[in-house]
Amino acid sequence: MLKYCLKKAGQVAIVMLLISFFSFAIIDLAPGDISSMYITEDMTEEEKAIVIEKLGLDKSMPEQYLAWLGEALKGNFGVSLSYKTPVMPMLTKRLPSTILLMGTSLAVSLALSIPLGLIAGYKKNTWIDNAISGFAYFGMSIPSFYFGMLMIILFTATLHLLPSSGMHSVGVNTPIDTLMHMIMPVMTMALSSMASKVRYVRANTIGQLSEEYVLAAKAKGTSPVKILFKHVLKNTLLPIITIVGMNMASLVCGSFIIESVFGWPGIGSFAMEAIGKRDYTIIMAYIMLSGFILVMGNFVADILYSFADPRIKRGIDVANGK
């Protein structure tokens, strides 16, 4: 088992290394540079030229990459070109708000999709199932920014219930205030990630309901609710771990757009700004960070799943010659 974990961890490291190389290459190819940040209107042409020259982005791409990698391995992601301060503290400062958003959306989508999926599966092919499935289809088919826009129009512009953007109102920083700001982005984010979970739980429930143990439980006179939430749920939860792990991708990428739509002060909107400024140290650090979250999500899901499902573990043990 340990060997398996180590092997997986090694793969994670290689994937991260390659991600960094690809990203670096892409950024290096991108046109434009940081210079527009430094040029003010009152500068003369000569001063502009001096400023541009001083930025000195004249090294070749492999050189820059190796220099960057050397430092990154030591945990130093460099100094932001635009802010002139180390990148990592800036990202970690904004990370909690992104984790708050991502974590809550994940929790909300799990809390909603599991019961919905169970019910849909149990009431297979009834109007309830159709409604829930329709809802899931809707969630996976609507562009998240569009749904966000519609929410803003409804709850802010029309009903004046919720604030349109940001994380808290200035001056009234209470948890309730933050909660109010969170509702719309969390719902938007949860909606898109709920769809796949609902559908998965539903399919799994239908599968489980035809298993013998359910028949046995029914025969014993166990109530449907108990069967559903005690027996079926237990067997459905396991695969959900994998789904959550794989969902990290959509969460990470989703936070990127949703943070921009709702002006959420997290790392996604920060990275978006950095792209506008061509601040490659920030972009790289963000890519590494979100790539890490993603890869780790899959990694942890793999490990958990192999713990959870004895068959996989047995398979591994056999492969390892035990």
Partner: protein
């Protein structure tokens, strides 16, 4: 089965850790909030709507959260606008050709135009009580030498002048030759606090940490008392040398652009916003019981440039055909919708510049002639690459209109919109970026000059007096423009200015597209946004009131 229970347990642990993570961050927010509220005044918690008499906060939407609020960085108009409450200029040229004084109270220019003598107000002080003196000016000069290798505040055509400190409050900039542009340079000066950095320019460069925390020293009417993830709060100083502002608190809050901002505004989350289309203007004008509209000249010229290095390399006749085909009035009507938002220019100078001459002949729109010329010159059937800066208001709409107009003479425009970071290295490839190769990638492009006010050619000067033939004008233009800047006689300067602008326009390289107005809509209780009509807004916070 045991394994399954364990898995369940693990899954639950995962879910728990997520929630735990949430609550811990929330707690963190809570505690940091408590710390923050201690430093602010207690009046803030009173809701503004119910008790209008205690309204004292002015909320401004910003497009991004700056990581430092230092006076020497920046560049974008947004940043200038954000730091306006914090840093005062010495003086600024206003739209009437006069001078508004801030930190300085007099500027004397000698007869020969060589000596610029500035006196700083006796009561001008930093927010920590230290007087603002010529030491701080010297610090700016030292910083310039450290950064550029020379004193940018008194340098004319590559020759450096000297700075002469007379006493604590008086300083002279002595130029090697007369140079009218000097006044633009000096009015752009932001003073840096010498006493904080002990006069060390390197310490100023590494000052991000210092300018990251509330309470750093400022020269303007406000100090920063709170910095959050997506906002910062400026609180009025009570020892500000020009008096105490009636707006006690300015909140700068990150709000997205476009409709997000409009929604936040209509929801009362922010107190004003800029509007750039006639539809918005008409909408808010119709609700004059709820909103105020302010309009001021932006002192900005937007223009179309024909790139002399472009792949199509248009000849004289082709450029003439191109300019005949442009209908300036339709550009205004199509892209702006009203004369209230922009007017059709006739010159390279804006009416906010005293050298501006309303008689300068404008390009004429003549479609028939354009078609004829396009046919005879071979312009017809050509495809040109057109670039514009997406970060600038209305530029996309201008591109849409021009594309349709030029289609009428058989010219196809391939339009590429990009953000400033991509646009500048491309548009200024030949002038500022030392021919980086991108000068060969576009034929037409739109750009704008802002802060075109005062008594000089302003930005038109560096355009006319170009390096390495960047814009395709003849050398005579540069020589004439330099003469305008060194002439001390006003009538002579006017004559030369008229001459150089007519000469430049005759070459069909630059087409002046619009003089823009900066139009803002505010909540009804906000007044005085146009008390000192300088863009980027607001140079004078003392004139703004939030109590109707």
């Amino acid at each position: 089965m045991q394994k399954r229970i364990m898995a369940l347990f693990l899954a639950a642990a995962m879910a728990l850790s997520v929630t735990a993570c949430n609550s811990s961050t929330e707690q963190k927010n809570e505690t940091s909030t408590e710390q923050k509220t201690e430093t602010t005044t207690p009046a803030e918690t009173t809701p503004a709507e119910t008790t209008p008499e205690v309204r004292d906060t002015f909320t401004v939407a910003i497009s991004y959260m700056p990581d430092t609020l230092a006076p020497h960085t920046g560049g974008s108009d947004d940043y200038t606008s954000m730091t306006r409450p914090l840093y005062d200029k010495l003086f600024i040229e206003n739209n009437e050709g006069g001078i508004d004084y801030y930190l300085a109270d007099s500027l004397e220019i000698s007869e020969d135009g060589l000596t610029y003598k500035i006196h700083i107000r006796d009561d001008a002080n930093w927010s920590d009580g230290t007087p603002i003196t010529t030491k701080d000016i010297q610090f700016c000069v030292d910083y310039s030498i450290h950064k550029y290798g020379y004193n940018r505040y008194c340098r004319v055509n590559g020759v450096e002048g000297t700075i002469n400190i007379i006493d604590d409050k008086t300083v002279e900039f002595i130029l090697p030759q007369p140079y009218n542009y000097e006044i633009v340079t000096l009015s752009g000066m932001t003073v840096y606090p010498n006493h904080v950095f002990n006069g060390d320019p390197e310490a100023l460069i590494n000052s991000t940490e210092y300018y990251n925390k509330p309470g750093f020293v400022t020269s303007g009417a406000y100090t920063v008392t709170e910095i959050n993830e997506d906002s910062f709060v400026c609180t009025a100083r009570d020892d500000y040398y020009r008096g105490t502002p009636s707006v006690k608190k300015v909140v700068m809050k990150v709000i997205g652009s476009g409709s997000t901002r409009a929604i936040a505004f209509e929801n009362g989350e922010i107190d004003y916003m800029r509007i750039t289309t006639i539809d918005e203007l008409e909408k808010y004008e119709a609700q004059s019981d709820k909103y105020n509209i302010f309009s001021m000249s932006e002192a900005r010229l937007n223009y179309l440039q024909v790139n002399p290095f472009g792949p199509a390399n248009l000849n004289d006749e082709q450029r003439e055909a191109l300019f005949y085909a442009i209908n300036g009035d339709e550009v205004i009507a199509g892209a702006y919708g009203s004369e209230k938002l922009a007017t059709n220019p006739n010159s390279l100078l804006t009416p906010d510049i005293s050298l501006y001459n309303p008689e300068t002949p404008d390009y004429v729109y003549d479609l028939e002639k354009a078609k004829e010329l396009a046919k005879s010159s071979g312009l017809e059937g050509m495809t040109l690459t057109y670039i514009y800066n997406k970060d600038r208001a209305n530029m996309e709409a201008v591109a849409v209109v021009l594309q349709q107009q030029l289609a009428q003479i058989g010219v196809t425009l391939n339009i590429e919109g990009m953000d400033s970071s991509s646009f500048f290295p491309r548009f200024f490839a030949a002038s500022s970026y030392g021919m980086n190769g991108q000068e060969k990638t576009w034929d037409l492009g739109t750009n704008g000059w802002d802060s075109m006010r005062g008594s000089t050619l302003n930005q038109a000067y560096s355009y006319l007096n170009q390096s390495s033939n960047a814009w395709g004008l003849t050398d005579v233009c540069g020589e004439l423009a330099a003469k305008v800047n060194t002439t001390t006689d006003k009538a002579e300067a006017q004559k030369l200015a008229d001459e150089v602008i007519e000469l430049a326009l005759a070459q069909h390289r630059i087409y002046p597209l619009t003089y823009t107005n900066y139009v803002m809509v505010s909540q009804k209780y906000v007044t005085g946004l146009d008390c000192s009509p300088i863009v980027p807004e607001f140079i004078d916070y003392l004139g703004i009131s939030v109590n109707g």
